[in-house]
Amino acid sequence: MWELVARSLDASAIFLLAAVGELVNQRAGVLNVGLEGLMLFGGTAAFILTQTTGSFPLGFVGALTIGGLLGGAHGFFSITLRGDQVVSGMGLWILSFGLTTFLGSPYTGPLGLGRIPSVLGLSPFFLLGVALVATTWLVLFRTGLGLAIRSAGENPAAAEASGIPVVAIRYLCVAFGGVLAGLAGATYTLSYNPVWTYNFLMGWGFVSLALVFFSMWNPWILLAGASLFGVMWQLSLSPELVLPGVLSRYVWRAVPFAITIPILVLISTSWFRTRWGLAKPEALGRPYVKG
C-alpha cells in the first residue's frame, strides 16, 4: 500500500513541479500552453546527458538550462514582440515534440544507471515540490517581489506606473516557469520512469496546465490537485488494485483525462466564476504595451 502511495506521490511531483512554474508565469500574466513541449525537451536533454556522461547532476543542469532557454524564447515572442501567446506556446510544443523524437530516438530504452536515492521509497522530488509550493506561496503573497509579480499579471500599466519593471518581472517568471518545466521533465526521465520512448509524456504537460486552472492560481490548492492526480494516474496504470477485472486496462488509462474535462466544466460555470472567478490574473495572455 505504501509503495502505491509513494509511487503516486512521485507522479504528483512531476505534475506539481511543472504546474508551480506555470502558476508563477501565469501570475505574471504570461500563458504558456507549450508546457508539455518544455517538459519533453527538458526530459530528453536530461536523459541523453545523463546516459552519455553517467552523471545525474549534469542531466538536471541540462534540463534546467534548456527549460529556461525555451521559457526565455517564449518570453521574447510574447513579451518583447507582443505576439500571440497561444501561437508561441503551441509552436514550442510542436517544435519540441518533433525534435525530441528525432534527437532522443537513438537513446530509446532504459537509462541503465542506478536509481536516484529515495527516502522510504519516496523520491526526493515530491518533497522538493512541497518546498517549492511553500516558497512560492510565501514569495507571491508575503513579499514585495510577489506583489510585483501579481500586479504585473493583474494590471501591468498600473504596475509600471508605480515603478515595477513589468517586462523584467515577466521575463523572470517565464524563465522560472521554463526551468521548472525542464526539471519536471527530467524528474520523469531520470527518476519516475527512466526509460526513453518517443513522446513519453503523452499529455502530462497538458494535465499540469489544467491543474493550474483548477488551482485558482493558489499554490496550496495546486498541491492538493497535483497529489490527487498523481494518485489517480497511478491507479489508472494498475486498476486491478481497486477494481480487479472491471473494464479493459486501456479504458482505465483514459480516466485521468476524462476526469479533467468535468472539472474544467465545473470551474467554468457561472456559479463558480462569480464565486471564485476573481482569482484569475486579469491580464493573463494579454501582451503588455507600454503606454
Binding site: 503551441m90 518533433g98 483514459a254 479533467t260
Partner: protein
C-alpha cells in the same frame, strides 16, 4: 529603441498584401528545408544527394508519388479541420482524437451491418454510410470541445488535448486484447475491410480526393462570399465587436468545431478505410495521429486560403514520406519526419513575426535631441 539619431521600433502590420503572405509562407518552408539539412547529413551520400533521394521518391517515383497524393489528401482534411475553427479564433488541436473517432465510426458500420456476403445493404451504400459515420463521429468529438467553449468558455486547447488522449486509449481498447473491433487473426489491429468495401479508386487514388478538393472550394466560397463565413471571420478577428454587431458567438463556436471535427473524421475514414494496402486500423495508429499535426502547420502557413493549403499539404505529404524513405535508404536516425514537423513549426512562428510586424525607423528631429552640456553649471 534608439540607435544614434534614429528611433527603431517594431510595429504591428495592419493588413499585409497577398503577395507578402505568399512570400512569408515560402520563406518559412524554405528556411525549414535549409535547417533540416542537418538531419540529412549521412555517411552514405552528399547533402544534395540526400535531398534528391527525398524529392525523387516523393514526387517522381510512381509508387512514391501515389503515396504522396494519398497522404496529401489526409493532411488536407486535417488542415481544414484546424482551419475552420481557427477562422473563428479557436484552436482545434484535437485532430488526432477526431481522426481516431472517424476511424472508429467508419469501422462501426461494417461491424454493425455485417461485412460478409450476409450484409443487407449494397457495398456502395455501406461505403456511403462509412463516410457519413466517420464525419459524424469526428464532429461529435469536436462538438464536445465546441459546446463547452460555446456555453461555458472552457479552454478548447485543454479539452481537445484531453480528448486526444481519451480517444487514443479508446482505440486501443477497441482493437487490442479482445476488443470488439479486433481482427480474427492478428492481435493489436482491427479487422480488415472485405474487398467489396474498399473505397472506389480513380486512377489509383481513392474518391476522397474529390471530397477534399470539393471541401477546399466550399471553404473558400464560405469564407469569401457568404454571410456565415463573414460572421465566423468577424468572431475570430474581434470577438467583442462581433458580439456588438449581433453575432452569436456560442452558436458559431459550436458550428466551427462540428465542421472541423467532421473534416478530421473523414480524414480518419480516408487513412484507415480508403488507402490501398491499409483497410484496417493498424496497431501503429498513433503515428497517423501525430501526422495530423502537419495539418496544423499547413493551415497556419496557408493563413486564410483553403485552396492555398493544397500545394502546402502536397509538399508536406511528400516531404514526410520522402524523409521516411530516405531514413531507410540512407540509414538516417529515426524520426526525420518528426524533426521536420518541429522545424516547420519553428520557422512558421518566426515568419509569423515577420508577417505581423514591421521594423520601422524614424529620424529624430534635431530639436528633440537634448544638447549635451559642455560646461559645468554654476554653483
Amino acid at each position: 529603441m534608439r540607435l544614434g539619431r534614429y528611433e527603431v521600433s517594431l510595429e504591428p502590420r495592419p493588413d499585409p498584401p497577398t503577395l507578402y503572405t505568399i512570400l512569408t509562407a515560402v520563406a518559412a518552408i524554405l528556411l525549414a528545408l535549409v535547417l533540416s539539412s542537418v538531419l540529412f547529413l549521412s555517411a552514405e551520400t552528399t547533402l544534395l544527394g540526400a535531398y534528391r533521394t527525398v524529392f525523387s521518391y516523393a514526387f517522381f517515383n510512381p509508387h512514391g508519388l501515389l503515396a504522396t497524393v494519398q497522404r496529401s489528401i489526409y493532411l488536407l482534411f486535417c488542415t481544414y479541420a484546424f482551419l475552420v475553427p481557427l477562422r473563428a479564433g479557436l484552436w482545434n488541436i484535437g485532430l488526432p482524437g477526431q481522426v481516431f473517432a472517424g476511424g472508429l465510426g467508419a469501422f462501426a458500420v461494417p461491424f454493425i451491418l455485417g461485412r460478409g456476403p450476409q450484409a443487407v445493404l449494397a457495398p456502395w451504400m455501406l461505403i456511403g454510410l462509412m463516410v457519413a459515420a466517420a464525419a459524424a463521429a469526428g464532429a461529435a468529438v469536436g462538438g464536445i470541445a465546441g459546446i463547452l467553449r460555446a456555453r461555458l468558455q472552457v479552454n478548447e486547447i485543454l479539452v481537445t488535448m484531453m480528448l486526444n488522449s481519451i480517444l487514443f486509449w479508446l482505440v486501443a481498447y477497441m482493437i487490442k486484447e479482445g476488443g470488439p473491433f479486433m481482427g480474427e487473426t492478428a492481435e493489436g489491429e482491427s479487422f480488415s475491410l472485405p474487398a467489396p468495401l474498399y473505397a472506389p479508386l480513380l486512377g489509383g487514388v481513392p474518391f476522397t480526393a474529390l471530397l477534399v478538393l470539393g471541401a477546399a472550394v466550399f471553404l473558400d466560397v464560405l469564407f469569401a462570399k457568404t454571410a456565415l463565413g463573414y460572421r465566423i471571420r468577424a468572431l475570430g478577428e474581434n470577438p467583442a465587436a462581433a458580439r456588438y454587431g449581433g453575432i452569436n458567438p456560442a452558436a458559431l463556436s459550436l458550428l466551427v468545431f462540428l465542421l472541423g471535427g467532421a473534416f478530421a473524421g473523414v480524414a480518419g475514414y480516408h487513412t484507415f478505410a480508403a488507402i490501398p494496402g491499409i483497410y484496417k486500423i493498424p496497431g501503429n495508429y498513433g503515428f497517423y495521429g501525430d501526422l495530423s499535426f502537419y495539418g496544423i502547420i499547413s493551415a497556419l502557413i496557408a493563413r486564410r486560403s483553403a485552396l492555398g493549403a493544397v500545394p502546402i499539404a502536397v509538399l508536406f505529404g511528400g516531404l514526410s514520406l520522402g524523409a521516411r524513405f530516405a531514413q531507410g535508404a540512407l540509414r538516417l536516425p529515426f524520426g526525420v519526419d518528426y524533426a521536420l514537423l518541429g522545424l516547420l513549426m519553428m520557422t512558421f512562428v518566426a515568419s509569423h513575426v515577420l508577417y505581423s510586424f514591421r521594423l520601422t525607423w524614424r529620424r529624430i528631429p534635431s530639436e528633440a535631441l537634448q544638447p549635451v552640456p559642455t560646461e559645468l553649471p554654476e554653483g
